[in-house]
Symmetry: C2
Subunit: 400 residues, 2 copies
C-alpha cells in the first residue's frame, strides 16, 4: 500500500485480546497507539472528585506537552484501586515504553470497565510483547474495538483540513454509550492529527471543542471516574507545522471541533435503550452558563425524557424544567418550539392546534426542542436521548 | 357525636365533584377547608421560576398572617394561564368568601392538575353553593380525596401534642406522587392545628419542618409550578394559645416536624412505578448544604436508582455520584454502607464477601444507604425511590 493511504501519517496501532475481564476470551481489550516521533499533546480528564489511577497519571503526563502514545484497556477501569492501581498503571506503561525504547512517562494510560477491582496485571504484562509486535499504521479500527465496553459499535471519525503548510488529516476514536453503562458511562477519546501544533494552542482548541461536544452531551447526567480526551499532534518526524496566522488557527480549530462533535453524536446515538436523539437549543439567555444550565436541566429531566420517549409534546414539563434551572428569566416572554412547530409564544400557548404537528415531529428519531428565553443573547445546545423502559432494564440488571 | 371526636377543633371541610377535568364525572375534585375564626397562617410555595396563578395569590395572602381557609381543586393546575388565570382564582376565592361572609383575601387558593388550560370557571362557580353548604367538621377525608391527581390513595396524618395551656391536635393532608405525575409532580399540603401560634414562629417552624421533610424527598428531581405547603393554626374562637416557653416551642416544633415527615414519606411510598423507598444518609460533610448536595446527587442519579431497582449493590455508581456533587471531600477516606453491611471503609473495598449480604438488604422494600465523607460533622437525609420500567411506561404515555 502507498503511504498516502494510511489513515493518519506518523501513528501506528495495535490491539490484542488480553483476557482482562475474563481469561481466554478473544475480544480485543488492550490497545496501543504509538507515534513515530514525539507528538505534542493536550488532554482533559473527568471533573469527578473520584478519579481513576490512569486519570491521575494522565493529568501529570499531559503537562509535559509531548507524548509518544496511548495504552488503553477495557474490561477494568482501574478506579478505586488505591495506590496499587497507580503502581499497576505506572508499571504497565513503563514496560510498554521499555519495549519501544522510549521514556516511560511518554505513554498515556487509559482504562475503562468495572471499578474497584485491581487490573489483572499478569495477563496484561504477558500481552505486551504481542501488542508492541502488532503495531501497524492500518490497525486503528482494532484499537477502536479494544476500547469498547457496552458500546454496540466502534466510533471513529476521519477529517481533512487545509493549513498554509499543506493539507492535514485528523483521526478520532472514542468509546462511550452513556445510557447503558452497566457500571459507569465512561467516555474515552483519542484524537490524532498529522499536523504539529504547539501544546498551548492545542489545549486551548481542545477545551473549546470539548465544551461544545463531549460536555454538551448528556444521557443520564453521570460523570465517570475515568472520562478522558486526548489529542496528539504531529506524530511523524516529517509532520508539517501549523502556522501562526489566524487562517491556520481557525482551520485547525474548526476541524477539531467537527471531530469532537461527530464523536459526541456517535456516543449519544449508541446509547442502548435510547430510541431518539433530541437536540435541546436554548437561546436568549443572559449568559452562556445560564443557557447551558437551562438546556442541561431540560435534557436531564426524567419527566421530559419519558415524554420524548412517548412522543408526547408535553411542553409543560419542558417549561417547568427550565423554571427550576436556577436561572433568572421572564417566563411570560419565552417562546417554545418542538421542531419548527411553535407551541408557546411570549409566554402563552399558541391558539392554533399545534398538538398533531408537534407529535409528528417527535415521532422521528431525531428532533430539536428550542426554548428562547428572550432575556439576553447567549445560547447553548445539548444533545440528549429519550428515557426508555429498556434503559431501566439494562441498568437494573444485576451484574453477573 | 361529641365535640371531642372532631378530627380537629375549629375547622370544617367539604368537597364536591365539580367536573373540573371533565363535566359529569363523580370524582371529588373541588374542596374547601374553613376555620370558624381567623386562624394564623404560614405558607411556603415552589421555588420554580415558573409558578401557577394560585401560587402568586397565595404568596401575597400568606403575608397577612391570618386566614380563614383553603379552596383547593384537582384536574387543572391553573398554571401558565396568564392574567386570566389570576383573575379566575381571585374570582373563585371571592365568591367562596362572599358565601361565607368573610373577606376575599382570607381564602387561600390551591390548584393541581394539567397545566396550560384555563380553569372551567363556570362549572366551578356552579359548584360553590354546594361546596359551602356541605361544610362539616368530619369531612376532612373528602378534601384529602378532592386534591388527589395521580395519587393512588389519600394521605393524611393526625398527631397530638402537649403544651402548657393544654393538649393540642394536628391534622395534615397532602397530595403528590412524584414518580408518576403525567403532567407534573405537584405537591400540595395543608396542615391544621387547634392551638394558636403567632405567624412568625409558625413560619419559622414550617421552614425547618419543610426542609427536613418535603424538601428531603426526591423522586425525579422535578419541582412543580404549584408546590405549596400551608399551616393554619387555632381555627376556633376558643383555641388555646402556644406559650412563649422553650418547652412549648419545642413541643409544637416537634409535632409539626413529625406531621411533615409522615406526609412526605407517604408521598414517596405512593410513587407509582416505585417499588422501593431508599433512605440516603450522608454524614461527615463539611456543612449541611454539602451533605444535602451529595445526598441529592446520589438520590437522583438514574444509574443509582436503576441499581436499586435491580437490587444490585453497585457501590461504584453511588461513589461516582457522590464525586460529581460539586462538594470537596477526600474519596480515599469515605465509608459506604448498604443497610448495616460495610462495603467501603477508608476509601477501600472491604476484604470480606459483602455482596450477598448487601444484595439481601436491597431485596427488601425499604433500606438505607449510608455514606460517611469523614470531612466534617454535617449530615443530610433524603428519601428516594428506585427507577423502574413502570415509571417510564407511565410517564411516556401519550396524554389522551
Amino acid at each position: 500500500m502507498k503511504q498516502g493511504e494510511q489513515p493518519i501519517r506518523g501513528f501506528k496501532f495495535s490491539a490484542v485480546a488480553a483476557g482482562i475481564k475474563k481469561p481466554g476470551t478473544t475480544k480485543l481489550d488492550f490497545g496501543l497507539i504509538v507515534s513515530e516521533a514525539p507528538a505534542t499533546i493536550a488532554g482533559l480528564t473527568t471533573t469527578n472528585l473520584v478519579f481513576a489511577a490512569p486519570v491521575a497519571i494522565t493529568r501529570e503526563r499531559v503537562t509535559k506537552g509531548i507524548s509518544r502514545g496511548v495504552l488503553v484497556n477495557s474490561g477494568n477501569a482501574n478506579a478505586y484501586t488505591g495506590e496499587g492501581g497507580v503502581r499497576d498503571a505506572l508499571n504497565l506503561t513503563r514496560e510498554v515504553a521499555e519495549a519501544l525504547v522510549i521514556e516511560a512517562d511518554l505513554i498515556i494510560p487509559m482504562s475503562t470497565g468495572v471499578i474497584g477491582n485491581p487490573l489483572p496485571v499478569d495477563r496484561m504484562r504477558a500481552a505486551i510483547p504481542g501488542l508492541v509486535r502488532g503495531l501497524d499504521p492500518y490497525r486503528h479500527m482494532d484499537v477502536a474495538h479494544a476500547m469498547m465496553t457496552t458500546d454496540t459499535r466502534p466510533k471513529t471519525v476521519q477529517l481533512d483540513g487545509v493549513a498554509s503548510a499543506g493539507n492535514f488529516k485528523m483521526l478520532g476514536m472514542c468509546k462511550g454509550s452513556g445510557m447503558i453503562a452497566p457500571n459507569m458511562a465512561t467516555m474515552l477519546a483519542v484524537i490524532l492529527t498529522d499536523i504539529k501544533v504547539e501544546p498551548s494552542f492545542l489545549r486551548e482548541c481542545l477545551i473549546d471543542a470539548n465544551e461544545a461536544s463531549f460536555n454538551s452531551v448528556t444521557v443520564d447526567g453521570d460523570t465517570s471516574t475515568n472520562d478522558t480526551v486526548i489529542v496528539l499532534s504531529g506524530g511523524s518526524p516529517a509532520s508539517i507545522e501549523l502556522g501562526p496566522t489566524l487562517a491556520d488557527r481557525e482551520a485547525f480549530r474548526s476541524v477539531l471541533n467537527r471531530a469532537c462533535s461527530d464523536l459526541a453524536r456517535q456516543i449519544v446515538l449508541d446509547g442502548e435503550g435510547a430510541t431518539k436523539v433530541v437536540e435541546i437549543r436554548v437561546s436568549g439567555a443572559p449568559d452562556s452558563d445560564a443557557a447551558f444550565r437551562v438546556a442541561r436541566t431540560i435534557a436531564e429531566s426524567p419527566l421530559v425524557k419519558t415524554a420524548f420517549h412517548g412522543e408526547d409534546p408535553n411542553w409543560g414539563r419542558i417549561i417547568c424544567a427550565a423554571g427550576r434551572a436556577g436561572v433568572t428569566f421572564d417566563p411570560e416572554r419565552i417562546d417554545l418550539y418542538i421542531g419548527d412547530v411553535p407551541i408557546v409564544k411570549n409566554g402563552l400557548l399558541v391558539p392554533e392546534d399545534w398538538e398533531p404537528s408537534a407529535h409528528k415531529v417527535m415521532s422521528s428519531k431525531e428532533f430539536t426542542v428550542v426554548v428562547d428565553l428572550k432575556s439576553g443573547s447567549a445560547e447553548a445546545l445539548i444533545l440528549t436521548t429519550d428515557l426508555s423502559e429498556e434503559y431501566v432494564t439494562i441498568n437494573a440488571d444485576y451484574r453477573s
